[in-house]
Symmetry: C2
């Protein structure tokens, strides 16, 4: 079973990294956020960075406390019609489904086999974890990574005809680059499993793989036939619900961020924990308002529900990014 | 209970960071390891770094794969007569013992209250975790950190009359600095809880707090009276036994190191996983052979048992550092 575990069709890969070149250009320009339209949102982000990074400023924040966290799905890349990891797990379930005849009768596996994404949207992170741990059990971590990268490079989004790693938001790449230039430490905090993201974050976001804070499948170390092996077990440590994110960040980096970017109710506690403390704080909510260039959704959607956070943004002083009006460009490939 | 949780006596603190100045000097010198005596051990470490960091070398290793891991207790600092975290937890148990009358009758708490370290040495990591989670339950993470740093700065080692953070090994500070200069990413992998180490690793090792991979007490996020709070729960995710270390490293950074430094059997699997893969690999075992300047112990000791790893070093090609003969200096304060 090991050798053929979730063997997805092989793809001739598209090289990742096309976006990285764009990323580097941004920091060399006078305007650190050229894909943002002028207005109060852009001005507020720049004002925050200048306040905390300018020595002598009353709001100056020393380097080791200059930490910013970013949700991934819907904040840094497209999460509609289904988030990329959901699509990947559906492919995995299909690939190993013939060894699990019981799945045809049992939820949530039945829905996964049938690609019933509206059912899957309702099962929550724990239901999704159940699919993930069962379909990955026994998988070798090296083989997992090879399979993932092949799938990622070869799978095309139906609407845009591009791999998921192309569907990142150019304005957010500029924010990451701008924050990094001002010596922020940048972390991704996502309900996705960390090893789903680590293989490509360096190429796509210019980010160290260990700066991904996500859920994690538990592995077991074995030494078989003179070779070490880490095998995926049917158990998972999770970022969990929204309240799990501050705990996950603290467990991983031991500090409270001073800036947080999210787009959904699952980011509520992360935004709240980040912004309710003394000193300069920045909370940013990406509001998907652009059906023409990307998607428009908030209080009613299968993935990325934005309801309580939208109501809480005003009272908490969180910036709400109106994607349609605030972003001049959505994707890096528009400018190429 | 929250406000007085494990309130240890207040100390007028000794500033950490004295060692950092020493650290910086090393890299400016021609000899990257001046506190190491000339010989095959020092030569092998330097030869390894030069091979992997020299572009054009057949053993060149690209930046993002240049990862080195270090055990802490007994590898980077003194772990005798008891590791610092054990001493800290005994102080915590004493401080809150009057609220737990049952502890006087129940092991391992009875031993902790009585300071019976030879009993405690036998309870293993799980027994120790039991003490830790029960005595920390309900503690606010900010208060924990303040208390820890106050204890750390104010507590003196009985033999050397110095705080634990002074009892780091100068030759290993030079190794860390040398590896970092050659663009290695450096991680500490320890059975200590990560938040016991994070507050001081920047000052002592020049290391980012999030580069500590350790056990972690689970926390819960709450929002009470307009203030967010992370509270320590009676649960813990653990690095666990030796086989847990490769899994812990993979979960945290998603990569296999190419160099590992340890000093005890608990480091066996970490050394094995690091060194049994293609390409240049380095495994190093610190052997405590210097009773006069530090301690001499291996196959019989309460803490830091070195038995199977000592036998496996030869067959696996791991370097064994003979502390007495290989190290010119043991502690930074010797040179000040």
């Amino acid at each position: 079973m090991f050798a053929t575990h979730c063997r997805l069709p092989s793809f001739t890969g598209v090289a990742l990294g096309a976006t990285l070149a764009v990323l580097s250009v941004a920091s060399a320009m006078t305007d650190p956020l050229p894909s943002w339209n002028e207005g109060p949102t852009k001005a507020a982000i720049i004002a925050f960075v200048e306040r905390v990074a300018t020595e002598g400023s009353s709001d100056f924040v020393p380097l080791h406390e200059r930490v910013a966290v970013f949700d991934n799905d819907g904040t840094l890349w497209v999460e509609q019609p289904v988030p990329a990891q959901v699509a990947f797990e559906l492919a995995c379930v299909s690939a190993v489904g013939n060894t699990h005849p019981d799945w045809e009768m049992t939820q949530p596996f039945k829905a996964a086999l049938e690609g019933d994404t509206s059912y899957l949207a309702g099962i929550g992170e724990r239901g999704f974890a159940e699919i993930l741990v069962e379909s990955h059990e026994g998988w070798d971590t090296d083989d997992y990574q090879t399979t993932l990268m092949s799938w990622m490079a070869g799978t095309r989004d139906a609407r845009f005809g591009r791999p998921a790693t192309d569907l990142v938001y150019q304005p957010m790449l500029e924010v990451i680059d701008y924050f990094r230039t001002n010596e922020f430490e940048i972390y991704i905090v996502s309900g996705n499993s960390a090893d789903f993201m680590r293989p490509w974050v360096a190429a796509v976001y210019g980010m160290q793989p260990d700066h991904v804070i996500g859920s994690a499948i538990t592995t077991r170390y074995e030494f078989i036939g003179g070779k070490p092996r880490l095998t995926r077990l049917p158990a998972m440590s999770m970022i969990g619900d929204g309240a799990g994110r501050p705990a996950g960040i603290y467990e991983r980096i031991g500090r409270r961020p001073i800036a947080a970017f999210g787009n959904a109710d699952i980011d509520f506690e992360m935004l709240q924990w980040t912004t309710t403390a003394p000193g300069p704080r920045l909370g940013v909510v990406i509001h998907h308002t652009d059906a023409q260039r990307e998607y428009a959704y908030d209080r009613k959607t299968n993935f990325g529900l934005l309801d309580a956070v939208l109501d809480a943004a005003g009272p908490n002083g969180w910036l709400v990014v109106d994607m349609r009006n605030d972003w001049k460009t959505i994707f890096p490939f528009e400018t190429q």
